[in-house]
């Protein structure tokens, strides 16, 4: 599996809706989403549709409500208004872990790994619902347990190797370098077998070469697993290069939506960012 990390892929630019996603049910369909915190509207009238293999980006100035949207999508917060459909199922009233089972996985802006556990165990925790082994056989270590564990180990190593993390599999997650931790979080999210993953600032704290590597990896994830990716990122270079569609939010509302090209030219966006978007490039 190590060949993945050595293969350097070209990063192409895609159009808004990918050819193969046409006529298919969107993996994520958000309608008129909104949340108030004690009278303060944090997110309002948020609409987005993401195709099954689409890479989309969510950008906006600090405090625009981007992470709040992710929290709404994963049911960390319950929305005040609107609905979220994942693979056509409304997540209303569901808890975070149930929503994950519907096929949505995420990473966190401030890394939330299980820092006392090894990288491998972090991934195995992610695979929790894939490991088929009854509680009793876990308690008594019946043969089923060993079979399930062996399978889980193989699968987890496969995933780690895919992101080039095979070498750190047995190191404690908390002791890994920052960039590696970010990638490990992505592997853990992938381990839940999702149909869409949400990446919250995956490139934050990475150096330019790591960021470039990350762009390849994001593309490769989509191409290998055929899943959708929805990411928040301040690094405009990454967003503009990787995303096929971009939504811009400010003050909790969408101010623009479109292809990277359209967004680059949108006066509202430029105004919101006060020209900042070019400086990061």
């Amino acid at each position: 599996m190590n060949e993945y990390s050595r293969k350097m892929l070209k990063v192409p630019t895609y159009n808004l809706l990918r050819e193969q996603d046409k006529d298919k049910l969107p993996v994520l369909d958000v309608r008129n989403l909104g949340i108030d915190f004690g009278g303060l509207t944090a997110v309002d009238s948020f609409n987005i549709t993401i195709g099954p293999t689409e890479i989309s980006g969510l950008i906006g100035p600090n405090g625009a409500g981007k992470t709040t949207i992710f929290n709404l999508l994963t049911s960390v917060y319950q929305p005040t208004r609107g609905s979220i459909l994942i693979n056509g199922i409304d997540t209303k009233g569901m808890t975070t872990h149930k929503v994950n089972k519907l096929g949505i996985a995420r990473t966190f802006q401030n890394i939330r790994l299980f820092s006392d556990m090894t990288a491998l165990d972090n991934v195995k925790v992610g695979m929790h619902n894939q490991i088929k082994c009854s509680f009793l056989s876990s308690l008594l270590h019946l043969p089923g347990y060993y079979k399930a564990e062996k399978k889980a180990n193989e699968k987890a190593m496969e995933l780690l190797d895919f992101m080039g993390l095979g070498d750190v599999a047995n190191q404690k997650a908390g002791s890994l370098p920052y960039g590696v931790q970010r990638r490990l979080e992505i592997v853990r999210a992938l381990a839940t077998n999702p149909s869409i993953i949400l990446l919250d600032e995956p490139a934050a704290g990475m150096n330019p070469s790591e960021t470039t590597e990350l762009m390849h990896q994001i593309r490769r994830i989509r191409d290998t697993f055929h899943i959708a990716i929805f990411l928040i990122e301040h690094d405009m270079n990454l967003v503009m290069n990787v995303c096929e569609a971009i939504a811009v939010v400010n003050y909790g509302r969408i101010i623009a939506k479109g292809t990277p090209e359209e967004i680059r030219q949108n006066p509202a966006v430029i105004e919101a960012y006060l020209g900042r978007e070019e400086s990061n490039a």
């Binding site: 992470t67 929290n71 960390v76 966190f108």
Partner: protein, 293 residues
């Protein structure tokens, strides 16, 4: 009429719980530790006051001052020797140490003052107020305890919101590291908190034993646990919450004894506590902190 008398009885013991709970909540709010030795500091305070009045023959006001001084010193010493070295370690380590301190104080008191009970002479000399032909009796202890606990509550609220040291305490309570970065001496602030908490314990001890005269080395432990319960009930860390929790606990306890069952009153009181916590997981006046994601 009966019901009002029970209410008064409930408020009486409740106000004692409240003043103990205020000490618990102070220390918990700032040092983030459950100081299980608090109840035993109360016991020490009561013994000091008893000794000063009965052995030295000094007036009760002097005995209260002596109790406050001794307990403050004791509190600072305990904090310095047993808790400070464990700063920054998991909360459970300090909890166990606090339990060790509690055992130590109880056994030391037994060796010093022997285990036979002493009858504490109330510091209140006022005659009870009798209403409705003696159907309703309000004792001086009730009035004093209620007044003192309200005064302490108001005083603490004022102290933590207006004075420099009090603000430093709140800062340490919110975020210890940030407070340190802002130039607040965290160690000294925590020591001050213990000093205040222990001084309160001394006053609580005198009031507890004025209301409930039996004084033994284990006198502080059960009221201590009740008061801790009261502090959680009201929302631990919240000063008015401790007051409210203490008084409510006293009233619930008295009413359950009076109208439901004396035998099962422990079970009833704690069941009410559990139900309240299920409805309001952070206690009555506690702040529900939303975890930041």
């Amino acid at each position: 009429m009966q019901i009002i008398q029970y209410l008064i009885n409930g408020i009486s013991i409740g106000a004692v719980y409240a003043i103990i709970a205020l000490g618990y909540t102070m220390v918990y709010g700032i040092a983030k530790m459950l100081n299980f030795a608090h109840g035993d500091v109360i016991m020490v305070g009561a013994y000091i006051s008893f000794c000063v009045t009965n052995y030295l023959g000094l007036p009760s006001a002097v005995s209260v001052v002596a109790a406050v001084v001794v307990c403050t010193v004791l509190g600072i010493t305990i904090e310095g020797l047993a808790y400070k070295p464990l700063r920054g370690t998991p909360g459970l380590a300090v909890l166990i140490t606090a339990i060790g301190v509690s055992y130590f104080l109880q056994n030391a008191a037994q060796l010093i003052w022997s285990s036979s009970p002493k009858n504490f002479t109330s510091i209140v000399t006022m005659d009870p107020i009798s209403l409705m032909d003696g159907q309703l009796v309000i004792t001086g202890e009730v009035l004093l305890t209620v007044c003192v606990s309200v005064a302490v509550m108001v005083g603490l609220t004022f102290f933590t919101s207006k004075t420099r040291t009090g603000k430093a305490m709140r800062a340490v309570s919110e975020d210890r590291d940030a407070a340190q970065l802002m130039g607040i001496n965290v160690n000294r602030t925590i020591s001050t908190t213990f000093a205040i908490g222990s001084a309160l314990a001394a006053i609580a001890g005198v009031l507890l034993c004025s209301t409930v005269p039996t004084l033994m080395p284990t006198t502080g432990s059960m009221p201590g646990i009740r008061a801790f319960t009261a502090a959680v009930f009201g929302g631990i860390g919240s000063i008015p919450g401790a007051m409210l929790g203490g008084v409510l606990l006293g009233i619930i306890e008295t009413f359950s004894k009076a109208y439901l069952s004396t035998q099962f009153s422990d079970a009833i009181v704690f069941s009410v506590l559990i139900i309240i916590l299920l409805v309001k997981p952070a206690g009555l006046l506690g702040k529900q902190v939303q975890e930041k994601v």
